[in-house]
Symmetry: C2
Subunit: 227 residues, 2 copies
């Protein structure tokens, strides 16, 4: 029981900081996504492909990537000249709002359309922590099994978009796509679902279209407010 | 800082219970493994295949399977008449020693050679929690990428065996097996590594051989002590 109370306090403190980040992003009209997946679902490969596409759309962005140890993901993105900040959480299982606040220091948000948070590979804890994002993205792969939404419902309940990656593997793995989509719909009927392959590029254009539209909508709302 | 102290207290309380479980298992000569992996690495498929093989070896065992929600894994094993207890952790990200103690109530450990803990799908938090096991097993799949040992070193440091599953997918995914093995060896040079496929059955005999030998060694040590 005592642990639960402690956890509630930790979450409340986190939510305060997240609220401040959200205010800050509202002022500059900067959109923030928080991508959450299992280890190895393909978040970094996704950003390696999507980053250059966003650049072609003239979207200015920064990637904040979290990992327990190593800066392998940041190095991969740095090779492509994608602007990236690495967070190492040690054995910490999620990124919290405080870490995001620190990571954004020195970033000129007025000149930034999009902050992309690539969370630590974990389907459970990151879903509990608001980091001030506009949208959580539940990112899963066909190699993981179609029952993951049922087993980790919080993430799918909290998300605005679900991305199913590695559709190129569908013919080699036992993944029932219809069952997976049905499970996602049962948990969160409003959740948009995109099927992609970071290997073949399939479906990535749909993601770029979605995020560009989200960014524009936020900027329009901001103008509406400041008028 | 305060969160770290709190965490230390939680871990200390957990270790007390884990110590008691370990004493209990020492008395009956029961071996316990704690299998830890990402969501969807194939733990349940592994147990579906290995369970009947253990039975043919006359190993009496019980499976304690953890999940945030649903009892899908337990149902899958129940269909095969494998003895199973389901733990639901809610949004809890790991199984702790207290949950194992509760799960073992009603089990006659004198008649049980092996307790198999199938942890919640998560590479981070479960590695921190001792549940009284003789061996943690780091279980990963070729679909996850070969850099996972580097990113989640604690699990590989704490484990006695690493199982690399889904070797049947090696020709369809970018997984550098040599790099993965090298990374594991760098973290824990004593770690035994098994390559398996739960789909084709490849390598599963090697696991059964290993666990049977571990169980026998523990029983021999127990006899040595009681003499």
């Amino acid at each position: 029981m005592s642990f639960k109370v402690i956890k509630a306090n930790v979450l409340a403190a986190n939510d305060d900081v997240a609220g401040k980040i959200r205010e800050m992003l509202a002022k500059t009209g900067t959109y923030m996504i928080n991508i959450i997946s299992s280890p190895g679902a393909g978040k970094t490969s996704f950003l390696e492909k999507v980053g250059p596409m966003l650049r072609r759309e003239k979207i200015s962005f920064i990637i904040v990537t979290g990992d327990c140890f190593t800066s392998r993901d940041a190095e991969r993105m740095d090779k492509l000249k994608l602007p990236v900040v690495q967070i190492n959480t040690g054995n910490g299982c999620h990124i919290d709002a405080g870490l995001i606040k620190k990571s954004l220091k020195g970033t000129d948000l007025k000149k930034t359309d999009l902050v992309i948070v690539e969370n630590v590979g974990n389907l459970i804890c990151p879903a509990e922590f608001d980091v001030g994002e506009d949208a959580k993205i539940a990112f899963l792969s066909t190699a993981e099994g179609a029952d993951k939404p049922l087993k980790y419902p919080l993430l799918f309940r909290e998300s605005k978009l679900a991305v199913i990656n590695k559709v190129d593997l569908l013919k080699y793995v036992d993944f029932n796509l219809l069952f997976c989509v049905k499970n996602i719909n049962n948990i969160n009927s409003g959740l948009k679902i995109l099927k992609v392959s970071c290997k073949t590029g399939e479906g990535l254009g749909g993601f770029v279209k979605w995020i560009v539209s989200e960014i524009r909508n936020k900027k329009t709302r901001k103008k509406g407010v400041s008028r």
